[in-house]
């Protein structure tokens, strides 16, 4: 079908197909349809194509990935090094590795504070570290992502945990969950001992309002030491 005829049918069906029109209007710079109104926003209309607008002012912007896309999420936070490897499997596909999924994690620092919560907003002189301990990675062919961070601290009312949000490759939410840590003698939680705070008043997994219903699916394997750093491994099955 010729474009002109195609456009005619669009207008004939305009009342019944507003969604289609809306879809067409989403990026006017790309359109090659002549405009009769002559309202140009940087470009000029000539015949059936829109001349590229003249951009005299630099800089020349390029598309950049979100600053969450990074494996080292430490920024300026200090603490015992933690390397977290998450494996995502697909519960709708015989628990096979899920490649290409987006995995967001976030957790609190050694003192139990998150970036932003209760902070002074974003008027930070050092905007490089304003999103500390937050990051996003895409799973590889083995369904794995690895983050470098610090061992989380704790705050009143919660056991040590890391937040996890898994999305499909297109950004659709598949699962919001949390990673729980083994506790008791010989565990990493005991070795870190709550950093400067100690563990007085610490909420154990059994008392935690998120984990008290059982942590079997959320409990990570954590090995290592305060001197060598800790390695965390966990597998989450999500319906994809």
């Amino acid at each position: 079908m010729e474009r002109k005829n195609f456009l005619k049918t669009l207008f004939l069906g305009a009342v019944s197909a507003p969604a289609v029109l809306a879809a067409c209007s989403k990026d006017e710079a790309d359109t090659v349809t002549p405009t009769s109104s002559g309202t140009t926003t940087g470009g000029t209309t000539s015949g059936s194509c829109t001349v590229a607008p003249t951009e005299t002012e630099g800089p020349f912007p390029t598309k950049v990935p979100s600053s969450y896309v990074r494996s080292d999420i430490t920024d300026d936070r200090t603490g015992y090094k933690l390397t977290a490897t998450l494996t995502i499997t697909n519960s709708n596909n015989s628990c096979a590795a899920l490649a290409g999924a987006l995995v967001d994690i976030w957790h609190c620092d050694a003192e139990g504070n998150y970036s932003e919560y209760g902070g002074t907003g974003m008027q930070s002189t050092n905007y490089q570290s304003v999103h500390f301990l937050r990051g996003r990675q895409t799973t590889n062919a083995s369904g794995q992502v690895t983050f470098t961070s610090i061992f989380p601290g704790w705050y009143s009312g919660r056991a040590t945990h890391i937040h996890v949000h898994v999305y499909s490759a297109t950004g659709t939410s598949l699962k919001v969950t949390q990673i729980a840590f083994p506790e008791g003698t010989g565990t990493a939680v005991a070795a870190v001992n709550g950093y400067a705070k100690g563990l007085s008043g610490y909420t154990s997994n059994a008392q935690d309002n998120v984990f008290s219903d059982g942590v079997a699916q959320e409990l990570a394997t954590v090995t290592g030491s305060t001197t060598a750093g800790f390695q965390l491994n966990i597998t989450f099955a999500v319906p994809a």
Binding site: G42, E57, P59, Q123, Y127, T172, S173
Partner: protein, 171 residues
């Protein structure tokens, strides 16, 4: 007049009317990121607009912060200069290092209603004089050689305000 040290704030609003490439990239990417991050506060997809989310869901006001992680990536492309604001010679000159990103309005199903703002806070300036609607300023850190200070004339304009005045140190 007495010289004073001030900082300026430029509130840049970006919405569907944006025409410049940088503005459009920021708009597009912050919209996509909002749709991703909003799912945390909207698992049952009960809410459609940003206003509804913030009104009904505790913690959803954090979305401006969470989405700012995307806008932040575009700031280095500005080369350290506040966009759009030019001096009386038509040149961008205003250095910044602080910013604040906010979502004004948005609709998870209608990109054309996505509207965001970036507040740019300038580095300190010495305000020497006011000539009609122009402020005569120079970088506060400037170290005058031969007693000559390079200055800019800044036209007062919408969305540009004086954010702070430094009080003189107690003697």
């Amino acid at each position: 007049m007495t010289e004073r040290v001030i900082t300026l704030c430029y509130r840049k609003i970006i919405d569907a009317a944006a025409t410049r490439p940088w503005d459009k990239l920021v708009l597009e990417d912050t919209y996509n990121e909002l749709r991703i991050q909003a799912q945390l506060y909207n698992p049952e997809r009960r809410f459609r607009t940003y206003a509804e989310l913030v009104h009904h869901v505790p913690g959803a006001s954090q979305l401006s912060f969470l989405v700012s992680g995307v806008a932040r990536g575009y700031l280095p492309q500005l080369g350290g200069l506040v966009p759009d604001v030019v001096d009386n010679l038509g040149r961008r000159f205003l250095r910044f290092s602080r910013f604040q990103f906010e979502i004004i309005n948005s609709d998870l199903l209608d990109k054309s209603r996505h509207q965001v703002t970036i507040n740019f806070f300038s580095d300190p300036l010495t305000w020497h004089a006011t000539i009609e609607n122009l402020l005569l300023v120079s970088a506060a850190a400037a170290d005058p050689e031969n007693r000559e200070i390079l200055t800019h004339l800044v036209p007062l304009q919408p969305f540009l305000g004086i954010y702070s005045i430094q009080t003189p140190a107690a003697v």
